[in-house]
């Protein structure tokens, strides 16, 4: 038996699975060029004084100093925090309660689920415009309550600087809670039937079973949902543009809009890059600990 043959020399590693590599070129390009390259590029240029066109003239932290002293940016951040915290709490609570209600082996579950989820199929622009109309002070909710006899009733979020962000929150929750409900419902359905049986035999009241047994068991679902809501919040843009265009008087500005306006309208790229880098940072603060808990933990185990 001789060791000769066409397979004597090991074929080059580069050409093994060649087709698979060729087919993965789009993914490799996207990952390296756009996601990695683009991010690094933006971060690098956030330290330059690029105006209309990107220029590599470094100015250190100038853009960030300007950013954090701009009232508009501070308003944006404040809005995002208010919207973010409230949206997180309400999404989780409403989403979970709706899911728990639907999980009671009720009739017409499909109908209710369809109704709760349909807003999610709509775009933020459609959502924003719809709620702009419903919250319209002259024709909408305020007008109707007043017409019913409560003359002094005031609910005019879209034209009141102090509460405009709540007007956006209402629309955002209407659009997004259906998704959270769906995720929670899937989580609830994933819980072993026997847990419920055991709790019933032990005579534990339902609310206690939810609070002390089911919710702790759903920890992974809650964490995933949290990350989803959180990274959606940071991207908040279309809804604001459609519903208020950032008004009244810039009271409903958000970071994503700040970035767009400075990059494409104000011809101040450096500010846009700095602002978007700050957005990246805030996402990293949310996602990195999560990723660490979710994936880093397993490697040790």
């Amino acid at each position: 038996m001789s060791t000769s043959g066409n397979a004597q020399r090991r074929p080059s590693q580069l050409f093994r699975n060649l087709n698979a590599k060729v087919a993965s070129i789009p993914m490799i390009l996207t990952a390296l060029l756009v996601f990695l390259g683009g991010t690094v590029w933006t971060i690098v240029y956030s330290f330059t004084n690029s105006k209309l066109l990107p220029r590599l003239k470094f100015v250190g932290l100038d853009q960030y100093e300007r950013l954090w002293s701009a009232p508009r940016w501070l308003t944006s951040i404040e809005n995002l925090l208010v919207y973010g915290v409230l949206s997180l709490i309400f999404s989780l609570v409403i989403g979970f309660v709706l899911a728990a209600l639907l999980d009671q082996k009720i009739r017409f579950e499909g109908v209710f689920r369809t109704i709760f989820l349909y807003p999610f199929a709509l775009s933020f622009v459609v959502t924003g415009l719809t709620w702009q109309w419903i919250l319209n002070p002259d024709f909408g909710v305020q007008n109707i309550v007043r017409a019913m006899g409560w003359e002094s009733f005031t609910f005019n979020p879209l034209y009141d600087q102090d509460i405009v962000i709540y007007g956006i929150l209402i629309a955002g929750l209407w659009q997004g809670t259906g998704l959270i409900m769906c995720l929670m419902l899937a989580g609830l359905r994933g819980i072993d039937e026997d847990i419920w049986k055991a709790a019933r035999v032990d005579g534990i009241p339902m609310w206690k079973t939810y609070l002390f047994i089911v919710i702790p068991m759903m920890r992974p679902v809650f964490i995933t949902t949290l990350v989803i809501i959180a990274s959606g919040i940071v991207r908040l843009y279309d809804l604001v543009v459609a519903q208020t265009s950032g008004g009244p008087g810039g009271a409903s500005e958000v970071p994503a809009k700040y970035v767009y306006d400075y990059m494409f309208l104000a011809q101040n790229l450096g500010q846009g890059f700095a602002a978007s880098t700050m957005m990246l940072l805030s996402v990293a603060i949310i996602v990195v600990p999560w990723a660490y808990l979710e994936f880093g933990g397993h490697k040790r185990g």
């Binding site: 038996m1 001789s2 060791t3 000769s4 043959g5 397979a7 004597q8 090991r10 074929p11 093994r16």
Partner: protein
């Protein structure tokens, strides 16, 4: 003539060494079974032979040709998988012909080969059906058929019967044996089931942690295990192990506690006489009752538990304070607490060095 030859094959996943410098020569027409617990590397070895895993070192020859870096399709192998791996959207015929069409075999030749395979495996009525419409046994037949139509010299079976229920498994086991008699191909068969291994194999390779422990005929493996691991792995219920030591003058006697076993009939394979040894005797090699008086060694034990298993009965007793099992006829009546006389012939026992665990 050697059909499959594996030389110094090793496989590493990162730092993990899955196969360690394995060498086997498999004769033409031989039925070799790779046997071992899960994770021992037996399936991995089969995948390496098939070319489905890239090896880290060594060579693989099939029919005298070095196929170490060949594509699976070019190795002259057919493979049958545990989960059948039938293409769900194709009919049985489509499943059988897919590989041949890929290899651009002429149409009439494809038809001829399918007809033959269908005849051999008795699946002619199933040819137009989809896998979902077949029972587990039928699916496995089709899977074997897919290897058959390839007209290859070497068949690889990866736990082909593990997904079937006990009765069907016994049936198909016989069929595979019949198939082997008829086709006389080389077959390499991976299983964790020792009955399958003992019934089918010309030779069994017992693997553990990526190393072949013993490669021998089923008779050899069962009666003369080369080490403690093989002795313990084969047989159900397992061999009785008693720790003991050689008598101080010469080695013609072994003692554990007060019990002394004469060894003048034991066929030693080694001249080593370590101080501590493990003495093993299979439960089925122990006789019980009056017949034990004629055995070279006999003693009295107290019965602790009796497990009737139909054809025979397994008795758990205490010998010198240690657990000791033996098998008696299913008809014999024994009760917990009885004292009975048992005996055995040390020639049928196995003695291992307690330190190296190798056969003496």
């Amino acid at each position: 003539m050697t059909s499959v030859s594996i030389r110094d094959l090793s496989l590493k996943f990162g730092a993990l060494e899955v196969l360690k410098s394995l060498s086997i020569d498999i004769e033409d027409g031989e039925f070799l079974v790779l046997l071992g617990p899960s994770g021992c590397g037996k399936s991995t070895l089969l995948n390496c032979i098939a070319g489905l895993l890239d090896i880290s070192g060594g060579q693989i020859f099939i029919k005298g040709r070095n196929v170490t870096w060949e594509e699976p399709k070019d190795r002259g192998i057919g493979m049958v998988f545990q989960s059948y791996a039938l293409y769900p959207q194709m009919t049985v015929k489509g499943n059988l012909s897919f590989g041949l069409k890929t290899a651009k075999v002429p149409k009439d030749e494809i038809a001829r080969r399918i007809a033959r395979a269908a005849e051999v495996l008795q699946i002619e009525p199933l040819l137009e059906r989809k896998p979902a419409q077949l029972s587990g046994g039928q699916r496995q037949r089709v899977a074997i058929g897919r290897a058959l139509v390839r007209d290859v010299d070497v068949f690889l079976f990866d736990e082909p019967l593990s997904n079937l229920d006990a009765k069907l498994r016994a049936e198909l086991r016989v069929e595979i044996k019949r198939l082997h008699h008829r086709l006389k191909n080389t077959m390499i068969y991976v299983t964790h089931d020792q009955i399958e291994a003992l019934t089918l194999a010309d030779r069994i390779a017992i693997m553990r942690n990526g190393i072949i422990q013993q490669l021998a005929s089923p008779y050899e493996i069962y009666n003369r295990p080369v080490n403690l691991y093989v002795a313990g792995f084969m047989g159900s219920p397992g061999m009785n192990f008693l720790e003991g030591e050689f008598a101080p003058h010469g080695a013609a006697e072994l003692s554990f506690g007060a019990t002394k076993v004469p060894l003048d009939r034991y066929p030693f394979v080694s001249d080593e006489r370590p101080s501590r040894v493990i003495f093993g005797i299979r439960p089925e090699h122990v006789t019980c009752g009056p017949a034990s008086a004629s055995e070279p060694f006999s003693t009295e034990v107290e019965i602790e538990v009796v497990e009737p298993m139909g054809a025979d009965t397994l008795v758990w007793a205490i010998l010198d304070g240690k657990e000791f099992r033996f098998r008696v006829d299913g008809q014999s009546e024994m009760r917990e607490g009885d004292r009975v006389r048992i005996g055995f012939d040390p020639a049928r026992a196995s003695i291992f060095d307690a330190a190296t665990e190798l056969r003496l």
